[in-house]
């Protein structure tokens, strides 16, 4: 009964989403208040029904209803209840439902927090989001119904993919999808602006907090996914340039460019058509990502649910949504114009350079991801493009972007003077250069790669701190607390996010430069020294789990040369009963300056095991940096001016004046 209610709720949601799209567009086109005023209540209803459908599926999973095909295929009565709940989005059907739920939730949020916007803009934005939702609901109902019954019911479920039975997996997909789908808001605003033929500072200001929010969630989602790969795949890597990782990284690059170009459009009215294009691209890449993951055109560890029929549907949907919006762009953008001009050296030009670099990096990742597909389509054979390509292309593009990142906040709008920049930043340059050259010596081994990575990170940190000091020193307020209070949250957010990038680079550089990895065969009693620690293998014993049997190894860790046991690390090798899959559960001792990582490979003979022992200095800074970036984003979007109607009106008038 409950699954049928869920199915029915999806059908009602489809009707509501269609109504939301049709009535809003009709109302906006004819300027009819009555029609446009239906957008908000329908959007709320749409959200409630999708949420109802999601709840019905979650209920079926939690209550082990194996008469639902999806539950039988992706859950098991032995599975702990929190994973049964998370299994709701562990399957293809469930993850599309989660996607749709997120879209409905963002639509609901737009309906709730758009009181200060003109009615026509709201109607068009909700209309576009309704259209996208129609696509996803149709996709589910026609090709991927999560509520399909299995008759006769299975006695037992096939169990959730053991890779997904992990706390990180419980929150990683919702965060990632919040980000992916969040770009639909910026996309809807962009289309609304094109339809309206009006693209001004007010439009940029309305889009900005939504874009930033989506970007924050996406940042966290990607970081969680990377952290999960680090401890769950059992060999200590944190980024593999896998097609599915790239699918999440491309919208992030586009979103990062969009955030910066929106800033220019809001403050200076420049980059208008470029900003609109980026908004379309960011969301289009989210859709393309879904296509790549769900259609099976690319192989990847993630693409376990594939079906060509679904691929055809998503491709048609892509052509309609992306092709349609790009056609609208080609038609309307020439009317929108480019906006105000600026000098070759100015904050605008720096942000433009940032945008160009991000866009080129994005194209490089897109090319690398799709290259195997292109070759296959041209009958040139099946190949895969790996990290060597991405590393070779990506780092040289990102390095100048990071270098400019420190300059951007310091340069003035419209026209900046190079000598001024030099005077203000020469100390940052000398300090960071000196430290970057000397620090690797102190850390034990000098290499150009480490020195250049450290230099970039330190350059950003020192220049950002100098920028903060300068800004506070020259603020008009009398006291320091007053000066601190006078700065906007948006500015604090930007500063924190930039420092997050530097923290991330420090982590990447130090772990690449100084990690130690040992893959060896150990029998009980053996010990090995890695990164100044001594690991003694004490043997293995069997431990039962709820839906698996595990072999647990025991490793005593001491500082090299000291008899005192610091800790005991217990990695596991699990054999999941229902699927017969075996999984590696690494044991990790995390610390600010290093991770100690032990994982069990395969039993060799007798009591001997293949063992991986890693020492990873500063590896947690990688994810720490991402979270700091996200915190910066959240700070920025809590800025007062996005909330008050008066500030919005004032800024709008200001921007008009600036352009005149």
């Amino acid at each position: 009964m409950i699954p049928e209610l869920g199915h029915f709720a999806l059908i009602v949601a489809l009707a509501l989403a269609s109504a939301q799209a049709i009535l809003s567009f009709a109302g906006a086109a004819r300027n009819r208040h009555v029609l446009m005023s239906t957008a908000r209540p329908i959007a709320v209803g749409h959200f409630l029904f999708v949420a109802g459908a999601f709840a019905a599926l979650a209920w079926s999973f939690v209550h082990n209803d194996f008469s639902v095909a999806n539950v039988a295929a992706n859950s098991n009565s032995q599975l702990p209840v929190h994973y049964r709940f998370a299994a709701t989005w562990g399957s293809h059907e469930g993850s599309i439902l989660l996607w749709t739920l997120m879209l409905a939730a963002w639509t609901f949020a737009v309906a709730a927090f758009s009181r200060h916007l003109p009615e026509r803009v709201v109607a068009r934005v909700l209309g576009v989001m309704g259209l996208v939702s129609v696509g996803f609901l149709l996709f589910m109902l026609l090709t991927s119904n999560p509520f399909e019954r299995l008759l006769p019911a299975a006695d037992e479920g096939r169990d959730l993919n053991p890779l997904l039975q992990d706390p990180g997996m419980v929150i990683h997909p919702p965060m990632l999808y919040m980000g992916y789908v969040g770009f639909s808001v910026a996309f809807a605003f962009a289309l609304a602006a094109l339809l309206e033929g009006r693209l001004d500072a007010a439009w940029a200001r309305w889009s900005r907090p939504w874009t930033t929010a989506a970007w924050c969630f996406l940042t966290i989602g990607i970081a969680l996914g990377s952290g999960w790969a680090y401890y769950e795949l059992g060999w200590g890597g944190w980024w593999f340039w896998d097609p599915v990782e790239n699918a999440s990284f491309m919208p992030w690059l586009a979103g990062t460019a969009l955030i910066h170009s929106l800033a220019v459009t809001e403050k200076r009215g420049a980059f208008r058509s470029w900003t609109v294009l980026l908004a379309i691209i960011a969301f289009s890449l989210s859709l393309v990502g879904t296509f790549l993951v769900r259609s099976g055109v690319l192989t990847s560890v993630h693409a376990f649910a594939t079906d060509p029929k679904r691929g055809v549907f998503i491709l048609l949907f892509l052509v309609l949504v992306i092709g349609g919006s790009l056609a609208l762009f080609a038609w309307r953008a020439p009317k929108v114009g480019l906006g105000a001009g600026f000098a070759p050296v100015s904050r605008e030009s720096l942000l433009l350079a940032n945008n160009v670099l991000l866009a080129v990096a994005l194209s490089a990742v897109l090319l690398g991801t799709l290259y195997p597909l292109f070759l296959d389509a041209l009958n040139l054979g099946k190949i895969s493009v790996g990290p060597p390509y991405f590393d070779a292309v990506f780092y040289p593009l990102m390095a100048p972007a990071i270098f400019l990142m420190a300059l951007g906040p310091i340069a003035s709008w419209k026209h900046a003077r190079l000598p001024d920049l030099w005077v203000r930043l020469r100390w940052a340059l000398w300090i960071s250069l000196g430290a970057a050259l000397l620090l690797p010596l102190a850390l034990g081994r000098w290499s150009a790669l480490v020195a250049s990575g450290l230099w970039l990170a330190l350059w950003v940190i020192v220049a950002t701190l100098l920028m903060v000091a300068h800004r506070l020193r020259t603020a008009p307020q009398a006291t320091w607390p007053a000066r601190l209070r006078a700065q906007s949250l948006a500015w604090y957010g930007m500063t924190v996010a930039h420092l997050g990038v530097a923290i991330f680079i420090l982590g990447v550089t130090l772990v690449k430069g100084y990690e130690t990895e040992r893959d060896l065969r150990m029998v009980p009693g053996d010990h090995v020294q890695v990164g100044g620690y001594d690991f003694t293998f004490r043997g293995t014993h069997e431990v039962p789990g709820p839906n698996y049997a595990a072999v647990r190894g025991e490793f005593e860790v001491r500082r090299a040369g000291s008899p005192e046991v610091l800790m005991v690390l217990e990695p596991e090798k699990r054999q999941y009963r229902a699927t017969g899959m075996s999984m590696t559960e690494a044991a990790i001792d995390s610390g600010i300056s290093r991770d100690l990582y032990v994982s069990l490979g395969e039993p060799v003979e007798g009591a001997a095991w293949g063992v991986r022992v890693y020492h990873k200095p500063f590896v947690d800074w990688i994810w720490g940096g991402c979270f700091v970036m996200a915190i910066g984003g959240f700070l920025a979007l809590s800025d007062r001016r996005y909330r008050s109607r008066r500030a919005a009106a004032a800024a709008s008038a200001g921007a008009q004046g600036a352009r005149a």
Partner: protein, 178 residues
């Protein structure tokens, strides 16, 4: 004016090209990774038979016949999906099918065959999964088509679908048997 329109239309054109590639990509099967085993001699092994402990099975015994090696296990749910097809094939006497019971318990495997029907000409029992490693098995079920000379000619990853059976496996068997 026309030049401007052209400029703003570039993203659309690029996307159209991308969509065309994606459309072609859809018609390809990325899982059709050229398996290194295809065209090579089936790795030799000798395993206990499932039904007759103490007796052994090895691919040598199939020399001169076209046969299928079907890797299955009682714990594998997808195997239930393909099993009726195998039973049907054995009734039609299409081709001898050898089952490789992979990382299973003997009792569970035997019970499963009693319940679901036994389509196998012979069943080998690979309790440690070592033969599976030799054959590059990375998921159950998998099925190999092996020719009269003992060379692997085709590999089906995942359950045999009616479509794959009709379009690929049966035509290949006919060709090889001729």
């Amino acid at each position: 004016m026309n030049a401007r329109w052209l400029k703003y239309g570039i993203p659309l054109v690029l996307f159209a090209a991308l969509a065309a590639f994606l459309a072609v990509g859809l018609t390809r099967d990325p899982r059709e990774v050229p398996s290194p085993f295809i065209g090579r001699a089936a790795p030799a092994f000798s395993l206990e038979r499932l039904h007759e402990p103490g007796q052994s099975f090895s691919p040598e015994q199939m020399k001169g016949k076209v046969w299928l090696l079907n890797v299955w296990a009682s714990w594998c749910v997808s195997c239930r999906v393909e099993h009726p097809l195998l039973v049907e094939m054995s009734k039609r006497n299409d081709v001898p099918i050898v089952g490789l019971d992979y990382k299973d318990e003997r009792g569970a495997g035997l019970q499963w065959l009693t319940k679901m029907g036994n389509p196998y000409f012979a069943s080998a029992f690979d309790v440690e999964g070592k033969v599976g490693i030799d054959y590059g098995v990375y998921g159950v079920p998998e099925t190999f088509v092996i020719d009269k000379q003992g060379v692997i000619r085709y590999k089906q990853i995942g359950p045999i679908t009616p479509e794959a059976l009709e379009k690929k496996i049966l035509p290949l068997i006919r060709k090889l048997s001729a």
